[in-house]
Subunit: 243 residues, 4 copies
């Protein structure tokens, strides 16, 4: 049984993570804590092998250092790390010979969607991204939409087909991220959906992810707990722990 | 057997229409003609009851007058009529006691999609339109996309849910037609698709039309030929001949 | 304000209905009750105009009689009524000059899907139903799937296209309800989805409903409360209260 | 420029392949032939590096031997090879140091769909296959549907979720290929579509391929011509030539 601490255990995600980790036959929660607790001491007292951090973004960098310095493997669910910070933490992990993960998205389905999108973009340079969320979402496009477009751009080997793009109504052709169009739909009754739509020669390919709730992050958190203990580098993105 | 003349019979649509009408057990093509032929004389000589006009837009108004004056029922497939022109032709049809149709779209599926979209908009004020065509299409949004948004607006009884619409990348939220968002996708491998996406309280409803080719217009042309002979008014839009 | 009693208010659906009705600016909950309470007396004491019954199926018939005899309009959410019983209740409603509704499904989206399916079947006799639910669902096809196929059958004017249906693996072509194929998908991550897929001449039309939870029934319950008070017949099916 | 012979050039696929290969800037058709022509002699006369064989299935084995013996790389589009035959041809290719391909499907989109399906099945053991074709298709499920289910089975690491599968109407739950359900839809207006539908924990992932015509095979044929000349083994399946 791998010993796991959940940091940020009183938050909504944290409470669900405690349950999910305890329900996994290979994992057990040895402590729950929150901002204010002495995380380093707790790791030593419980001999925890993994710490799942679900606290606020601003605490992520320091928490990761504390976890690594205490000899445990960090599984960090907060976003907003700067590239520089990730490098510092990766160096520290190497020094401590600890595996670890910083992941902006723990949904296995979303991660596979992005991975497949990048693979398909090698063969189909013509592709648009359509994402749908509830009207409460503040920004558009979504972070996942932007990330998907970036991955597509990095993977494309050819330019997409030229297109007139004459808009009778401004905005019809969507947002443009270096040649990849992104369309953001905002409707009640939708939680989080994304379609990556590829057009080829007399054929199309769609990859479509649909998330009902943040519960979809739990299998990814459990997978990460089991994988980081087998490794000795800190990686960025859940996809790095998947084949 | 209803006697039908195809005007514009040498064009791509015309050739297909000749075949489709002849394949229908209730219809027969009694003459094929094109610009330059004396349409009025031909109607009299053949005693045609219906004339399907698939010539160019600019000829539509005059051809409809000739057809009505010769006592036949016009089925007009050209777009670009002005409101004033439609009224003149409707008055003429009434006087001549002839049924008739001017239709910007003969696809039964597209017409049903728009009809259903208007019906659903009464109950679901939150709705966006996503249309996809090949990169060769010059303008965006498509005519069908704009028409669908207009019908939705006319049918809505409530305002849609407020939404922040803060665009990190310009155009993400699509085009806005009086509050209805329209998103235009342009990809090879696509002919003509449209999805009308409704969001409700913990539920969504999608109406999705997909057209493979202009052959999809043929059943609508045949339906129109059979319906106009039963009527004595000229209507605009194939939906007016459907229950 | 229309005065509404919720019967079965302690059940999951009942609790949500109390909230939804109170949140509606035209409705107010004047009493909440459950099996064992004297419903007739409560109606008189509160002068309730509408009673929403969300108790168990076996109580539905008697509750409806009590509600009508007390002069209120019943909105009945229990299924399992026999045709004979519905007729008796409709006669009673006429006598009492009360409007009323018995509805197997309060989801406005599902009701529109079925209505549109019946309309489209007049023009597209070729259609299959694909429904998806979670693996916990006991029976397949779903009740909505069967009801949709029945409505399609009643509406079709032509036979569907002949098809070889040679199954290399038994069951590939799905269930057959008088010529309408129904396919049942059972997957985790799905709550309740249904697609009605029409095939035409070089075109297809899909109507797709997706429900996230039973919350999707609430707008239909509120709509029914407002409509039954305007009427003096008892109808079967929410669609009868929609245009 | 890679020199290519098209064998079976008078067939529908062959004619399209001649055009597609000639339109590719790295390829040129040096000869077109059909059953009856001396393929071996033609290869020598033209110094062709690749032979694309689009003749009938029964000729595939012999043609591949002739091509390899003449020192060219075979790209074989006929299906129906026995495992034993593939091994014999692979041994011959090794001996001759020639690359080659036998491919039951040249659609890049369909090949990616199957590849992604196998990858996702490692993480999502719950999955069903829905394929749609025109009513003329004789057998169900389609070959691609069966192949996809086989690949999913080989890739799954866990058993899928138990499900009651109580069919009120026989066939509702579809065909069963070792635990993977396959549903076959047959409708006019559809050419060839397939959806691989994965269900996870509060999320779903769909991979959807749509083919408009056999033209979708052409990019795969061209890709194969360019890849086989770089290799010295004969592989089975276009996916083996893709990253």
């Amino acid at each position: 049984m791998i010993k796991v601490i959940i940091n940020g255990a009183k938050g909504r995600m944290g409470r669900e993570a405690v349950q999910a980790v305890n329900n996994d036959s290979e994992l057990e929660v040895v402590a729950q804590c929150d901002a204010g607790d002495d995380l380093g001491a707790l790791i030593k007292a419980t001999q925890a092998q993994v710490v799942v951090d679900l606290t606020i973004a601003s605490a992520g960098f320091n928490n990761t250092k504390i976890i690594l310095n205490a000899g445990a493997c960090p599984v960090i669910g907060t976003s907003g790390f700067q590239e520089e910070q990730v490098k510092i933490l990766q160096a520290l992990a190497l020094e401590k010979k600890c595996g670890g993960l910083i992941a902006p998205n723990f949904s296995i389905g979303a991660v596979l969607m992005m991975k497949f999108a990048a693979q398909a973009a090698q063969y189909f340079p013509d592709v648009e991204v359509i994402e749908a969320h509830s009207p409460e979402k503040e920004d558009s496009p979504s972070g996942t939409g932007i990330r998907t477009a970036e991955l597509i751009n990095a993977a494309r080997r050819k330019s997409p087909t030229k297109c007139s793009d004459n808009e009778l109504l401004k905005g019809a052709r969507g947002a443009d991220l270096e040649g990849v169009k992104i369309h953001s739909i905002r409707l009640p009754g939708v939680v989080a959906q994304q379609t990556v739509f590829f057009g080829g020669h007399s054929e199309t390919l769609k990859i479509e992810h649909n998330s009902l709730s943040r519960s979809s992050f739990m299998p990814g958190i459990c997978l990460a707990c089991k994988e980081v203990v087998k490794r000795n580098t800190l990686v960025y993105g859940l996809e790095c722990l998947m084949d």
